[in-house]
Symmetry: C2
Subunit: 537 residues, 2 copies
């Protein structure tokens, strides 16, 4: 439908109005007045004033770290209360940085969730290093954009950090890599490359063709960012084959083989397998060597989501658990997990770096694509390695943390986390009122509270009834724990059982903390059990 | 192909080996020894030591800001030299933070690109606020993950900041929004939502169907992250219709109407138009009202990439340029551009927030999806608003910057940037040896050096020859500018002409800097012209 003459005229008249605005706002003043209009105002403040802000900021940070052991883990305020506390109209006028910092302390810092508290074992949220925080301050002051050519220093730091990470994993030293916001983007980048490389046609140009028959394999325990990526990629989550897991929550290699065979029979195009090295639910590491064999046999892309477990390689003792990872075509990692780097720090490695630039290049797309980036030097162009163009200087905090602590200490702390998990499991196994769900993988302990008397006392009842109650009770325990604020574990559902889940990726946690956490949970569990059992059983 | 018995056995034996490793590494030590093995080592250092690091960090940052006017803009070292300077094996043992900081100063800070230097006008790289840098230090110390439920304070801050941004733009107060790494991800999120909402079938589940006939429209001047997103989404860049631009580099609405009509005739499925509010090449703002009309008429998703131009709305004078943006279905923004927030800070707004969660939910995908995130409170779950799960506390630096400076000052500085651009254009227009390429849009000035005598002296030559030389000369000028290091502008190609491109998104730039930049460029241009003209003409 070609626009009518009336519409054409309407548009022309819009142009006129628009240009009128442009003329008024941009050209109205007399040329000679322009110079007088510009008052050379800046956001700058005096160096001594910046120093005061910096020292004051430091004092706030020091207090935060100093009190991290003793403050309640969670703020008292709900989201609604926090919104009310913060609520204010869009600020119109200037105020001193001192006032802003004081407000930051009172409203923000004092209401933080103490992720770094030694008794915080929720999700896979690591406690960050102090130097990592100051490194982020420096990085933001320097405000380097690690995408443009010419930013040699930041680019070189990132290249070095990527080399170190490859070495830690024993991965191909010629592999490509880039730092990203976290595992979700690292996995998305990996699967985009996998899809484009394995498509057998130019998918970047033509899009997903007719039959859309590409199929990807992952265990039922894979991270939820994988189906999200498959959605974004236009493959559709129906084309994920959910591979069963065995008793240890690891991908069942026979089911994988079986499902690949089935798909091939149906004329589908299997293209990739996602293995997980450290599932978030149970810490399970999929059988990497076997999956690599299967991928090799069927010419599939072998991707490993090692966001949580990858840096276990820092411990010589734990490293063999990752055997086979060096055969991966791509690996997703999270330095903001077991490298104890403050958020955000993700990483993706791709064995053949050419596949990264081939997938993400914009050079051939259209005439103007590269006109904003005239290559005047032969810098690495990180914008061709992933999704972002503007990209911050994440490498600095990794560089400084690794340099301060060294990999030996890192290895010891990570190993200590796994030993604490085993210690916790041992204490739970010894307890008559707690059940452990499976032998510890990496540093995750899943367990639930089962009152000592429950099976005996209600043995006449249906098993299902008791299970229902145990789910209710353990959910109530997590809620009580949130209200209590002395300790924190998260939860998950394993085979219809609601269970408590302690993830130990915390360098501050000690043996005593583990004993205390179990004690606190027991104390709350007894109270909850007393309060609600009669309503259910 | 079902695995053979031999393969089955092989896999079983692999399991055995694997479990052996697990047993050895995780279970080998006697239970009773576990407690003794855990030495309660941490990454913590004494509070006074942290304070020293913080003060020292502050001093480094103060020095950096203090000298930002006087240091050369670019480091002398090439990427290769930087790599050599940084090169060191993976650090094995601990060292003091003082040593690491000193090295950071010498190797990193002293080799930074001074993006915030008053004469740095390269790309759309803004100079950040000082308080934004310290805010990032605090955010990283607190290490909040603004995804998990329970992090009420960080979530509330982000919600407030998003509300403020909506108010700045005059956008629907009920719209959804999330902070992201930058424009590329903001645009990817927007187009994922557009595709899924407009697909007329459940694309998340089924993937792109048979005919893959969805078509998207954008001007030839659109940012390169748009074709990249279209590639990732599986739509294919062949399904982007490149709409012509008019003399002002704005999308030609008639060509848009024409191409939509053509596609409809062919049975294609037009689903979205990307308008740009401030192209990176020329600062052009597409005719938003007209595009909104077209989208309404054809039921297309109206997306505005306002990464650069969006915050022009902070100036009451410039705000009318964005008329029509309030009708957008989604908007991509970059607070790390004209809100002067340090990298990274992007933002996406979506008029109907339900479309965000509908597109990115993982709740219904598969049984384990939500098991790691038991909703124990009714917090906003930002992981359902975009791609990331773990997500840093970007809101803090925006909150602190807006609070310190207030929108009035922001409006004045942004307006000043546009006035400086007009002033620069004026000076160039008055010069006999510089040509301006088009009237200033927002704060971008595209120009080139054309030696006074060139057209007269070589009038017998082919015009093409002279144009070729001018391209060579201006490229040489940019290179000379890089070597000279007193000023910085980037470049672009407009209608086969290589031109210099000054992007003024710098709160430190003054009138005098503009005069100086032109003087420096002229000085280098004369030298380059003298040196190379004979080789070409």
């Amino acid at each position: 439908m070609i626009p009518s003459h009336a519409e054409y005229k309407k548009d022309i008249s819009y142009y006129n109005i628009f240009h009128e605005i442009m003329r008024k706002t941009m050209k109205n003043e007399k040329t000679s007045n322009l110079r007088d209009m510009i008052l050379d105002e800046t956001f700058d403040i005096e160096p001594d004033e910046i120093r005061k802000i910096g020292y004051h900021t430091t004092d706030l940070i020091v207090d935060y770290f100093k009190n991290i052991h003793t403050r309640p883990i969670l703020p008292e305020k709900t989201l609604e209360q926090m919104r009310e506390l913060l609520n204010e109209p869009l600020p119109q006028i200037e105020q001193t940085p001192r006032v802003v910092l004081d407000e930051c302390k009172k409203k923000i810092i004092e209401n933080a969730v103490l992720v770094g508290h030694p008794r915080f074992l929720g999700w896979i949220l690591a406690s960050g290093t102090a130097i990592g925080a100051f490194a982020d301050g420096i990085a933001s002051a320097l405000n380097q954009n690690v995408a443009i050519s010419g930013v040699g220093m930041a680019t070189a730091t990132e290249m070095l950090v990527i080399d170190w990470i490859k070495e830690i994993l024993g991965y191909d030293s010629k592999a490509g890599g880039i730092l990203v916001s976290g595992g979700s983007i690292a996995n998305l980048i990996s699967l985009t490359i996998a899809r484009n490389v394995k498509a057998q046609y130019d998918i970047a140009t033509h899009g997903i063709k007719q039959d859309n028959n590409m199929v990807i394999y992952a265990s039922e325990e894979v991270h939820m960012c994988i189906p999200k990526a498959v959605n974004i990629l236009g493959i559709g989550t129906n084309n994920i084959r959910w591979i069963k897991v065995n008793d240890n929550y690891r991908l069942d290699i026979l089911d994988l083989e079986f499902k690949i065979a089935e798909d091939k029979k149906k004329g589908k195009h299997p293209f990739a397998v996602v293995a997980t090295a450290g599932t978030v639910n149970t810490g399970a590491i999929d059988p990497l060597e076997s999956i690599a064999d299967v991928c090799q046999k069927h010419n599939l892309w072998f991707h490993v989501d090692a966001a949580y477990g990858g840096f276990a390689a820092l411990s010589p003792k734990l490293k063999p658990l990752l055997n086979g990872i060096s055969r991966a075509d791509s690996i997703a990692l999270d330095p903001h997990k077991w490298l104890f780097i403050p958020f955000e720090a993700g990483c993706v490695l791709v064995k053949n770096p050419f596949f990264m630039t081939q997938t993400f290049t914009t050079k051939t797309d259209y005439i103007h694509a590269d006109s904003t980036k005239i290559p005047l030097s032969d810098d690495v162009d990180y914008s061709e390695y992933g999704i972002q163009l503007s990209r911050g200087f994440r490498a600095l905090k990794i560089w400084m943390s690794l340099k301060q602590y060294g990999v030996e200490k890192y290895g010891r702390i990570i190993e200590q986390n796994t030993n604490l998990a085993r210690y916790m499991a041992e204490l739970i196994e010894e307890s008559p009122d707690f059940n452990i769900m499976f032998p510890v993988n990496l540093s995750i302990v899943c367990f639930r509270y089962v009152p000592k008397d429950i099976n005996k006392k209600y043995k006449s009842r249906q098993k299902k009834k008791i299970e229902e109650y145990l789910n209710h009770l353990n959910k109530a325990i997590v809620q009580a724990l949130r209200a209590d604020r002395r300790a924190y574990v998260s939860s998950t559902i394993l085979e219809d059982k609601f269970v408590l889940r302690a993830c130990i990726v915390n360098h501050r946690t000690t043996k005593k903390d583990i004993v205390d956490i179990i004690g606190i949970i027991r104390e709350l569990a007894i109270t909850e059990d007393d309060a609600i059992r009669n309503k259910f059983l």
